[in-house]
């Protein structure tokens, strides 16, 4: 025990030292730049003399966001004109080319940043678990994950190169301005990328050499470093889009005022960071789950099917776990958008881009429906779960009603004839379900039902044996029942009170849903301690249809990511950098919903075709057979924590 603790301490110290070394350049450069553009102060002897001379020359500007004064240290944002000088072009819309390059880089980037986080979690589970067979199983799974991301990693770098060339050749003026502002950040970004690559290669290729003892802990620590670097990389890249949406650190003319921290730390940077981390995780989980589904569907043996069924389950569980807090992070982001510029928020939620949010609502509905469908299918591989099958039809009904309410629009864009026929912009009946009050009720019902499905899934093959079983079951049933009543009642009550009060009702509704999520799953877990097993989980004996639910989930994640990215980017309307640098290209208008949907679908399919190709390539290489947990009976191979 003492030896083990000693190893942990050593590994933590090694980890700390490595992180300190890696992050040192960032810390030093940011400090230096924050205090005046990164230039060393003049020597005291010459300072006084210099002050007098410079005073006349020094021009000061006021930060557009922080409102602080700073010395002008950059050129104004270029005022571009529509021509080949500022916007060189092919006989094609440059914006679409850039959109494509950006989106593909982003898909791959998100994936390769998310997978090491999974690896870290799963490798850690493997290290701390006492069951040796399971430990090996987790270790193999983590290795499989990183192997998938390694091929994607080189593609990410290639796509990054293509993206930069696209920027340089099609938007030179804009990219020139952005790189003049972010020069030091871009250099740090490049250095971090080198560090990320180095760490990743050591992490991957050192897997077998560092599989035991202290070396294993160091290996695990390296996954932490890998993720710290990856997260910093992502945050640096986020600072560019944050600056484009909500610029800071520059004056009204776009002149840099010498404080790089202001430029990075814009109004939307932090919400974007949180939203993207969660989004990447959900997306990465979706991609890995799709990989597992692919391997499951092409598996030739029961062992393979069992392994990839389990892998798909774990990846999907991780994806859904990060999907659930995502709307709250999104809510925070939107709140900050409204706080930054109310018009921007209204353009998003109630103006030009509002129809895209109807698509988003549909996507969220699809994600939850797919998740539920997968869980119901998964009940089929557990003996004893039959008792829940007959109730599924009621859950379907509740989910579909919630979904239909959630996607109903309130105000519709119509022709005068349609307007006349309907008697107004709102449908006399359906319009009532399109208001926020009903929608909040709809989505909370959907999430609560998903929690209920999950609770049933956890109980699938188990019978609680705790003495207070009956009380626990009644309590849970009542809790869920009251939760539905509360959510629906508040949704109805919202119709009878003013809008500013109604907004506040979403808080108790969400609190009810989260209470179900945390308390009921926790209570269920407690009730299942020492539960009677009705039969094993027969991994691999899930229907093929369930794998299509996973693929649906992965495709929907990808599509939604493309959609939300498009919304976020197009809210700037005709600005390259909001209110600072205007877009004067011939493409400074916002596309129709249909065009955007086609483009997103194209990007999604291109990504999936390319990544399926990567998966297929992976199967061509030397195959590392899934580890058979010989300690278990066939069909009972992997059993993660709590049996699920």
């Amino acid at each position: 025990m003492g030896r083990q603790n000693g190893k942990k301490i050593w590994s933590i110290m090694a980890l700390g030292a490595m992180m300190a070394i890696l992050l040192l350049p960032v810390a030093t450069s940011l400090n230096a730049l924050a205090s005046g553009g990164g230039e060393a102060p003049p020597a005291p002897a010459v300072k006084a003399e210099g002050d007098k001379k410079d005073e006349a020359k020094v021009e000061k500007g006021r930060d557009v966001y922080y409102k602080t004064e700073g010395i002008v240290a950059g050129a104004p944002a270029p005022k571009t004109t529509d021509g080949t000088k500022d916007y060189p072009r092919y006989n094609f819309e440059s914006r679409v080319l850039l959109w494509f390059a950006n989106q593909q880089h982003l898909y791959y980037g998100s994936f390769v940043l998310a997978v090491p986080i999974f690896c870290m979690i799963i490798e850690f589970m493997g290290v701390v678990t006492k069951d040796k067979a399971m430990a090996k199983k987790y270790d193999q799974l983590a290795y499989d994950f990183i192997k998938i991301s390694l091929t994607a990693y080189s593609l990410t770098a290639i796509l990054g190169g293509i993206l930069i060339f696209t920027f340089l050749t099609l938007y030179p003026a804009f990219f020139g301005y952005l790189s003049s502002i972010f020069r030091p950040v871009m250099h740090i970004y490049a250095l971090m990328f080198v560090a990320e690559s180095g760490t990743l290669y050591i992490y991957y290729y050192g897997w077998d050499k560092m599989k035991e003892g202290l070396l294993k802990w160091i290996h695990l620590s390296m996954s932490v470093i890998l993720n710290v670097i990856g997260t910093v990389l992502m945050m640096l890249a986020n600072s560019w889009i944050g600056f484009m949406m909500s610029p800071a650190g520059v004056d009204e003319q776009g002149r840099f005022l010498g404080n790089i921290w202001h430029v990075i730390h814009t109004a939307l940077w932090n919400p974007l960071n949180v939203h993207r981390i969660l989004g990447n995780m959900a997306f990465g989980g979706g991609v890995v789950a799709a990989y597992a589904a692919y391997r499951f569907l092409s598996a030739k043996t029961d062992e393979e099917r069992a392994h990839y069924d389990w892998m798909g389950y774990i990846a999907m569980a991780l994806a859904v776990a990060f999907l659930i807090p995502l709307p709250f992070a999104g809510y925070w982001l939107m709140r900050e958008v409204y706080a930054y510029r109310q018009q921007m928020g209204i353009t998003l939620m109630g103006g030009l881009l509002a129809w895209l949010f109807i698509i988003q609502a549909t996507m969220i509905g699809i994600l939850f429906l797919s998740t539920n469908y997968y869980l119901w299918q998964a009940l089929g591989r557990m003996r004893g779960a039959e008792k829940y099958q007959r109730y599924i039809k009621y859950l379907v009904f509740v989910l579909v009603v919630g979904f239909l309410v959630f996607i109903t629009p309130h105000t519709m864009v119509m022709t005068p004839a349609e307007l006349k026929a309907m008697g107004g912009q709102q449908h006399p009946v359906l319009g009532n379900y399109g208001v926020m009050s009903a929608k909040n009720g709809g989505i909370n019902v959907i999430i609560t039902t998903t929690v209920l499905s999950f609770v049933w899934y956890m109980r699938g093959n188990k019978e609680p044996m705790v003495p207070w079983k009956k009380f626990g079951n009644i309590f849970m049933g009542t809790f869920f029942g009251l939760a539905y009543v509360n959510i629906i009642w508040l949704a109805i009550y919202g119709y009878y009170i003013p809008a500013n009060v109604r907004v506040g009702l979403s808080v108790p509704q969400v609190a009810t849903t989260l209470s179900c999520l945390f308390f009921m799953t926790a209570l269920n877990g407690v009730m299942l301690k020492g539960a009677k097993q009705m039969g094993p989980i027969e991994w691999g004996k899930i229907s093929a249809r369930s794998q299509y639910a996973i693929i649906m989930l992965a495709t929907a994640f990808t599509w939604m990511m493309g959609l939300m990215g498009y919304i976020r980017s197009s809210v700037r309307l005709f600005w390259h950098v909001n209110e600072i640098m205007r877009d004067n290209s011939p493409w400074a208008y916002t596309h129709t919903v249909g065009f955007a949907a086609n483009m997103i679908s194209f990007n999604v399919l291109f990504f999936w075709v390319s990544i399926l190709f990567v998966f297929w390539l992976g199967t061509l290489g030397a195959k590392k057979a899934p580890v058979e947990a010989k300690a278990h009976a066939p069909g009972r191979v992997p059993e993660p924590a709590h049996g699920h």
Partner: protein, 431 residues
Amino acid sequence: MKELLVSALGMGWGVLAVLAGLLVYHFTKGNRDGAFKVFIGMLATLMIFMAIANYKNNFFAESRLLPVSLVLITATTFMMALYFSNVSALLKIGGFMFLVAAALSGYGNWLPQVEGGFPPKEEKLQFDSMTSQQLADEGEKIIFGGIGQSSVQGAIGKGQCPLCHGFQKGFLSERAPNLFGLPERAEKERLTDPNYHKGEPQKRAYADKEACPGCGTATTVQEYIAESHACPNCYVAAGFGVKGTNDKESPMPKIHKPPISLSLPELAAVDTWLYVREGKEPPSYEDIIKSYEKFILEADRPKQQDDKAAGPTQLLADGTEPVDQIFAKAQCVVCHTIPGIPGATGTQGPKLEEGTNAPNRIHDSAYKGTAKTTPDYIMESIVSPSSYVVKGFPDNLMPKIFGQKLSAGALKKIVDYLSQVKAGAPPPKIS
């Protein structure tokens, strides 16, 4: 169906010919299994090309038939998966993903289509020589996007005011105060409100005490309106502050600053409309300008010349107009006859029935361009007219500037329209 099949064969004959060659090869070698797989491949190829042909033929016509292509492609992948077992999972997954992505695309296209136009053009208007009514009309345009639009729900102009403010009597205005009756309310309620601290800005408890150092507070109704625009944080109507600031901070942007950037004359027009629409006598243009000059320092006033130079105003058409107007603005109607476009009866250029002409010209031996499809040919003819010169018409007569003088949106509308014009068929609808 026959037409679809012919169209598919026309497009995919090359691939089918190669596959037919393979089929013969396998037969001659006695490889029945290989021959069968090639046969399935041929069937799948034909189905894919039929799907493409259906998509192409119905793109501008029966949009409800477009999902047929989607079903055909998905069915093809699943059919292939049955016979090509080594890539079966990939084909099934690919087909399913295609179904999902294409269905979402279809959903996006089924929803109402709204296209965000270009930023508003700067027009040179002489505000100082306008009558009150003319000024008020300009104000209504700035607020609502057009004269008479103030009574239209959802109408919005450059000022973007109706995003938050209500303007009609009794209209529920939740985000910002309803501006009906503002001139009267400003005098009787706002200026006399103890929280306003008329003449004593330092006593104010709001986020900003004054619009600029030494600006002081408003003393007249017009000054109050000007101050509200120039410094929304100097006084916040109760209940309309930013949440969590206890009404100390206003969510309203300074509308003389980007992105709205109303100039002082434009602000004068807006204010004049607020008086005129209630039947009240507005202050003179000069008085309104003075009221703003009190609260907006010289350096902070928007410089219109800069905006103009930066705006994409060099275009003949920006794509927000209906296609007949685009044809008129670009002067196409002077030289060409275009079925369905009023006044387009020119004869210096060929008659533009490109739905019929383009496919023939692409296959003409004299054609030197690179277009393979009708839309590509039309686009090429606009941006590079010499790629193909129709017999009987001189080269270099058509200007080569339209690639730069028309926006991408405008070009797309022209191409979409002309692709549908066919000889002997009724002209397409103008959109």
